[in-house]
Assembly symmetry: C2
Homo-oligomer: 424 residues x 2
């Protein structure tokens, strides 16, 4: 991670009073724009409205005759498993369909390991002090799970090919208390990169001091392309099996950003041993997930191809917003050396880096001008960005015109904060 | 619990060969009847079929404008909270609406306590050995949660007014490792009794050595009357508050046996401090429950009165099945002193007691004659009925005619097992 370096620092400082004046004017506009969370827009949700009543009043039987209205079916309807398996490029036997939330499935997996341990393990993780590797910037809710349960987080670098493998390999090889690693391998949150094949293969094969090390593989954006082509990602379950570490990956995904956010269907995929272990625990905590909602998804999407076709409609709605971010940042900050930003080919976020030490000031200035951003630092463990430079921009929710306005404000705040800092 | 005593033991023994002959004949019939689980019948589920598509394709906004299709809303829609609050006779502020499963909410509450402790507590329950009181016969899935997490179970007696308070008070007063107690206070599973007012008040007021003792109050059958009148139950949250133990109760319920089993809506209700504590944890494990399904329930039932009206339709379908059980048992076993059975005014089960030592033989005989019953012992901690006499009968799923046939087989198996035992 090279530092952001201003191209013409004197010129930036010279413009300070001009930035202050522009900022004062912006504050007068009384804007109220929210760019904090990666929520789908109303137009995206509308794409699935037919799903709400796709089931007729007597359409409640799954293909195998299961009455979805009644109890049972711990791991999901076969046809829902088949769709997820194809989208995740694995086999239905590796799939457990859950309730509406993949975050809940991840949290459950961590809690199960804390209380009971995992296959290949030597007992409950919660018996001693454990640690997780956290490629950063990353997803704040992953880090929150660790913080909540007292799991120490080790922030590790993330570059355009994924996590920095040389340092990760060294860490996991030498410290048996490192039990897990959070990964968003495709269109990573918030930096947008997809892990290179060589990185995935090294993650699958690396020697870990802990015999029960787990990759928490949050494939949240598996089918969330913005462009016509998808980033290739090596399938993790097969890669780990091939490397002799079949039980290493715990993969998660959901339809939250495909059908409805919070009323979708979530999934965990893993090895036979991990699936059997998870089902043993699931049988204690539930009689089964909501199968009617699974059937609704099956009827609406029909198959994996249906999901992919649907995602092209999402991309058509999202692309102009991401283009707006790029366009404004390029116009306002291009060549200044005051910031660097990602141009993701998928996912939900643009990652903006400012000069070291400026991110929290930019977020504060933007907030005071009516543009809410994710808190600075949120993308790092414990909310602490060591260089105070990363800002997660979430352009999905507001209309493109508002995204444009918000980004103009953010760009101005970057210039103002930079000028103030360079002058100091 | 007085033992079942045969009225005319010699006569029973004398009839052994006749019972054997009848049993051999029944086996020839090739029956295949399943009375194992408390599942609603197709006809009951059909009552809610309109709910499947009660929402029009543009009907997704809650009363407060919340778009139920998008993220957010940790504790449920206000209108869903209001319905549950009225049904449970508490205030909406005490209510957290969850996903589809109350079992999951109970399990979550236990896991949170194991890992983090509870308000008024002195740290995580999982740090030491803990115990739960288990009124027995009780619900096997409650006991499974304890067994799974290594919580020691103390079986305590249950009579027609609820748990035997004298012994319970003594136990909890003297043993600080007793942290919890499972209660199904209304139409108890499987014995059908509703806790008397004096019992509820003693549970609310009893002195516990553990400062963080919790009543796990599974009010699964709160509105599941079979008759025109309901059994009165003292509201536990107010009772505990009045007794100076506001954080003692954790109440659970769901619409699984109201709308759809497994695709309903679950709820936890408790004190302000417990609700705040639960929400702190929930915010880590989920972004929110399925609000579209909540809205579906709100539109279909409209209000608590709508739920009650709906439950009268359930009762009309269930009553003939429960009457069939009573009728056959009375006809076949009445006056014999070979069995005693409950005649519940609500809930999902009939509890059948045989002569001591005969329950597992009856279940085995019935199974071999094509009538599957819940395994003997399932209603006791660790699946061990110390007197081997209790059998849970679940008449809800099969048609009344099949219930009748199945009960004839069970009654015959009771006579046969009794005769064999008395002869031995």
């Amino acid at each position: 991670m090279t530092a952001i370096t201003p191209t013409k620092p004197q010129e930036v400082v010279a413009n300070l009073s001009q930035y202050e004046a522009s900022y004062a004017a912006v504050k007068q506009r009384g804007l109220k724009l929210d760019m904090t969370r990666g929520k789908p827009s109303n137009e995206q949700l509308d794409l699935a409205n037919e799903m709400i009543n796709v089931l007729g009043p007597s359409d409640y039987k799954a293909a195998d005759g299961t009455d979805t209205r009644n109890y049972g079916g711990l791991d999901g309807l076969p046809e829902m498993k088949a769709i997820f398996a194809e989208l995740l490029e694995t086999s239905p036997a590796n799939v457990i369909v859950g309730g509406a939330s993949s975050l809940t499935m991840m949290h459950d997996a961590v809690v199960r390991a804390l209380l009971h341990g995992v296959p290949d393990g030597v007992g409950p993780w919660g018996r001693g002090k454990i640690k997780f590797l956290c490629p950063s910037p990353g997803y704040d809710r992953h880090f929150a799970i660790c913080q909540h349960h007292g799991i120490e987080m080790i922030a590790v670098d993330l570059d355009k090919d994924g996590p920095d493998m040389a340092s990760d390999e060294k860490l996991v090889a030498s410290d048996a208390s490192i039990k897990g690693m959070w990964c968003v391998p495709k269109y990573s949150n918030p930096t947008g990169e997809t892990y290179a094949a060589s990185v995935v293969e090294r993650l699958a094969a690396m020697k870990t001091a802990a015999p029960d090390f787990r990759l928490f593989w949050d494939n949240a954006y598996a089918v969330h392309d913005l462009e016509a082509t998808t980033d290739p990602l090596v399938e993790i379950i097969a890669a780990c099996a091939k490397a002799g570490n079949p039980n290493r990956p715990l993969e998660f995904a959901s339809t939250s950003k495909i059908s409805f956010a919070g009323a979708g269907v979530a999934v965990m995929a893993s090895s036979a041993a991990n699936v059997a272990d998870a089902k043993k625990h699931l049988g204690i905590q539930t009689i089964g997930p909501d199968k009617v909602n699974q059937l609704r998804h099956v009827r609406f999407f029909k198959d994996a191809a249906g999901v992919r076709a649907h995602m092209r409609k999402h991309a058509a709605l999202l692309r102009p917003k991401f283009e707006a971010v790029s366009r404004i940042f390029e116009r306002e900050l291009g060549g200044t050396g005051l910031a660097a930003w990602t141009k993701p080919r998928g996912g939900y976020f643009v990652s903006l880096d400012t000069l070291d030490g400026c991110a929290s000031e930019v977020v504060k200035l933007a907030d005071e001008a009516g543009v809410k951003l994710t808190p600075a630092g949120a993308t790092f463990p414990l909310g602490k960005d060591p260089r105070n430079r990363n800002i997660r921009v979430a352009p999905s929710l507001p209309p493109a015109s508002q995204v444009e306005t918000a980004m103009e404000v953010v760009a101005l705040c970057v210039k103002l904060a930079s000028a103030r800092k360079l002058k100091a």
